[in-house]
């Protein structure tokens, strides 16, 4: 029982990270109908900027962890957002009306470019970080297994939930959110009635990048080690989460993220660790074959 609960906690934590990345995928797909292949790399860049910020803070003598964390959070959100903005401007905006294949190739190209950009600038070796937050709550001391909810996990969960609420508020209650939903439904019409489509799309990318940056920071704290390749794998899993939840639906992305995190945790715990990635890919394939609209998505009726 204790083991199960522990996996539950681990899975939820992991799921939060995936959910944050998945929102970026789903938002971009919803608004311009494209899979932002390079989104995983944005997440990876967020992680790198976080660790660099930490080291700079160390050099500057900022030792107090909570302050460091806040600064890391803000800095990575801002700087990664710039990457998200630049990505859209350079690679996607020119191809907005191009055939799908061209946009996909560009996205893959940017993904390869960003991976190697970071690899060349920061070296190919993994970057470790000592644990910044240690300790936690212990429950259920059954037999020889103690279920722990570490402060770190709590921090991740709470931060993610807060961000989700803030985000949902942004989407449903503000003018920007309305503009975004309008663009999602009919891009052409939204432009005609005076919505600044370019700016709305840019902001969408920026928001997605910001959330991915937070996910990057959390990944860094949780796993303690990053390299330039984490974007690829996390990206695929987050994309699976977005599809599972229903592409284009933000609550779906959140739900999908949690599910994927749980599935990954339980699969590695109860089956084999080597094939855990296969589990994620297989879910993707199965969902797309049997229920392409996902759990919370709307069916796509083709107009003839």
């Amino acid at each position: 029982m204790g083991y199960f609960l522990q996996q539950l906690i681990n899975g939820l934590t992991l799921g939060m990270i995936y959910a944050l990345i998945a929102i970026g995928y789903t938002m971009v797909y919803g608004i311009i109908g494209m899979i932002n292949f390079a989104h995983g790399e944005i997440f990876m860049i967020g992680a790198f900027i976080s660790i660099i910020t930490f080291m700079v803070l160390g050099l500057l003598g900022v030792g107090w962890i909570p302050l460091a964390l806040v600064i890391m959070l803000l800095v990575t959100m801002i700087l990664t957002a710039v990457y998200g903005w630049a990505l859209e401007r350079v690679a996607y905006r020119p191809l907005r009306h191009a055939p799908r294949l061209a946009a996909l190739i560009t996205a893959i190209g940017m993904s390869i470019f960003l991976q190697n950009y970071v690899q060349l600038l920061q070296g190919a070796r993994v970057k470790p970080l000592q644990p910044l937050i240690s300790g936690g709550f212990r429950f259920l001391e059954t037999g020889d297994f103690i279920v722990t909810l570490s402060y770190l996990q709590l921090f991740i969960i709470v931060l993610t939930v807060v961000l989700m609420f803030a985000f949902t508020f942004l989407i449903t209650r503000t003018a920007l959110g309305r503009a975004q939903r309008a663009c999602q439904q009919d891009l052409g019409m939204a432009g005609l009635i005076g919505i600044n489509v370019d700016r709305t799309i840019s902001l969408t990318f920026v928001m997605g990048a910001t959330l991915a940056a937070v996910a990057g920071l959390m990944f860094l704290l949780n796993y303690g080690v990053i390299d330039f390749y984490i974007g690829f794998l996390a990206g695929i899993k987050a994309f699976t989460a977005a599809v599972l939840g229903g592409i284009g639906s933000i609550p779906g992305a959140m739900l999908g993220g949690l599910l994927i995190g749980l599935i990954e945790a339980f699969w590695s715990a109860y089956f084999t660790v080597e094939y855990k990635d296969v589990a994620a890919f297989s879910i993707l394939v199965l969902v797309l074959i049997f229920r392409p609209t996902g759990l919370l998505g709307k069916p796509d009726v083709e107009k003839v």
């Binding site: 494209m34 899979i35 860049i45 790198f48 900027i49 660099i52 080291m55 700079v56 160390g58 050099l59 800095v75 700087l79 710039v82 990457y83 903005w85 630049a86 350079v90 690679a91 020119p94 191809l95 055939p99 799908r100 294949l101 061209a102 946009a103 996909l104 190739i105 560009t106 893959i108 190209g109 940017m110 993904s111 390869i112 470019f113 960003l114 991976q115 190697n116 950009y117 970071v118 060349l120 600038l121 920061q122 070296g123 970057k127 470790p128 690829f232 695929i236 994309f239 599809v243 080597e274 094939y275 990635d277 296969v278 890919f281 297989s282 993707l284 394939v285 797309l288 074959i289 003839v304």
Partner: protein
């Protein structure tokens, strides 16, 4: 000469502001990742700073933006007058750097920075010169540019009538040319392998328009099938090759069946997923595939039963002893080269032929409008499956060749990047264009091999090339479609299409 439309000149104030904003963005981008570098030192991490890189990037962005706007507005001369001397200066400094101070290069410490500065300045300068000469030459209009590039593509395709056989001729005599040493031949084999894979994927992506990001899976199936069949059943290369192809085609049908009704992007992701699943399975199914150790000792092909080694195995005879030639190790490489050349030609001939048959046309029509195809009685699923599995078959052939050439295979060779590279070759060359694939492969595979020092920048340049070419011409560099049937034979050309 094209009309010169009156072009609005941006006031300097706004030009500066725009450039300033771009420079600010570049500063933001480079500050974090370029400005600092995390180094592993014993016992932990250290932080290095590289602010000169940040400075360089920001300034270059500013100047670059100004230059581009000026070029765009036909104020080309000042740009050329500044850029060309800069390029010249950098070039001279680089060439005579040793004389000045062997320890470092000029004007910046990094070679890469210097050469990129040179390249950018040269490009801007040359463009400025050209624009200054041809006043009406600026084609900023996307449509006009597309039409222009289409003409280029058409001319290349016309030239392909002569260029193709010429290249083929060159390829055939390549091993006998004076400079063709082992290294050159190895590179040639690599390039031709990718050309063959590109032609194979061209059937799926270029003709049928199916986004396949998992092509490497079929390459792997072909390689492993050949290896396992040859080892466990003691079959020769020539028997295993078609078998491997059939198995790969079968894998294509199996993988394609559930997913081919998915739309564009989704199909791409699913095929990517399949590719990764197969790689992970190959990596972990130790008993069957040898896991990360792979399979080694894969037998080499024979020339009608004559082996190509120094000494024959029991009961066999070597090629050299049969023809009374002196043995040279390079001969085996030459044989391999001709082998892959033959396979590639087979793929090409097949494609050229099938385009003129109903199925080939059906693929192209499916690519254009699937709904219309359905309304004409075409079965989209079967049509797509055919393309997918035939493409897979050629991938399988390529994999078999790869296995026999290396003598050893492991899952490491079959990553997603391979699929991406092959896809890039197809798309960048111009989808559906056979000769485009050849050029793209030579450019993307051959060139970096010759400049080994640039190896670490290869993938970076790759990604950048993909983005740049797609933004510039989404249909691919040399894309141009000739109809497969003509009612009125073109009077300018001899021979039917």
């Amino acid at each position: 000469m094209a009309e010169t439309a009156s072009v609005r000149v941006t006031p300097t104030r706004i030009l500066m502001r725009d450039a300033g904003l771009i420079a600010l963005v570049v500063f933001g981008l480079s500050f974090g990742l370029v400005g600092f570098r995390i180094e592993d030192v014993s016992g932990g991490l250290a932080l290095l700073t590289r602010f000169d890189g940040v400075f360089f990037a920001t300034v270059l962005a500013f100047l670059g933006r100004v230059a581009l706007t000026m070029l765009h507005e036909r104020r080309a001369l000042p740009v050329a007058l500044v850029a060309l001397p800069v390029a010249l200066a950098v070039l001279l400094l680089q060439l005579f750097a040793d004389a000045l101070d062997p320890a470092r290069s000029y004007p910046f410490r990094s070679e890469v920075v210097n050469w990129s500065l040179f390249a950018v300045a040269l490009a801007l300068g040359l463009r400025g010169v050209w624009l200054n000469w041809h006043h009406g030459g600026l084609l900023s209009n996307r449509e006009a540019r597309e039409r222009n590039m289409d003409e280029v593509g058409a001319k290349v395709q016309q030239a392909a009538r002569y260029l193709g056989p010429a290249l083929l001729g060159l390829a055939i005599v390549l091993p006998f040319l004076p400079f063709a040493d082992r290294r050159v031949l190895d590179i040639a084999i690599l390039v031709v392998t990718y050309i063959m894979l590109g032609w194979g994927l061209n059937i799926v992506v270029g003709l049928a328009g199916l986004l396949d990001l998992g092509y490497v899976a079929f390459y792997a199936v072909g390689a492993y099938s050949y290896a396992l069949l040859a080892q466990n059943f003691d079959l020769g290369f020539w028997t295993c090759l078609p078998l491997a192809g059939i198995l790969a085609a079968f894998a294509g049908i199996l993988l394609g069946f559930p997913v081919l009704r998915l739309r564009g992007d989704y199909l791409a992701i699913v095929t990517l997923g399949f590719g990764e699943i197969i790689r992970i399975i190959l990596l972990n199914w130790y008993t069957f595939t040898g896991g990360p150790d792979g399979i080694s000792g894969i037998p080499r092909p024979t020339f009608f039963g004559l082996e190509l080694g120094k000494r024959a195995s029991d009961g066999g005879e070597t090629f050299h002893s049969f023809f009374n030639l002196t043995y040279a190790p390079i001969d085996r490489i030459i044989f391999m080269f001709y082998l892959i050349l033959g396979l590639a030609l087979l793929t090409n001939l097949f494609t050229l032929r099938i385009r003129k048959l109903p199925i080939g046309r059906a693929w192209e029509a499916l690519r254009e409008d699937e709904t219309a195809c359905r309304s004409l009685g075409m079965n989209p699923r079967n049509t797509k499956l055919t393309a997918f599995s035939i493409g897979a078959m050629f991938g399988g052939f390529g994999g078999s060749f790869f296995a026999t050439r290396q003598g050893f295979i492991s899952p490491e060779s079959f990553t997603f990047i391979e699929s991406a590279v092959i896809l890039a070759i197809v798309v960048l060359g111009g989808m559906g264009s056979q000769i485009g694939v050849v050029f793209a492969a030579i450019l993307l595979i051959g060139l970096p091999e010759f400049f080994r020092e640039l190896q670490q920048y290869r993938m970076l340049a790759f990604g950048m090339a993909m983005v740049t070419i797609m933004v510039w011409r989404p249909s691919g560099l040399l894309a141009h479609r000739e109809p497969t049937l003509r009612l009125h034979p073109d009077p300018d050309r001899t021979g039917a299409a």
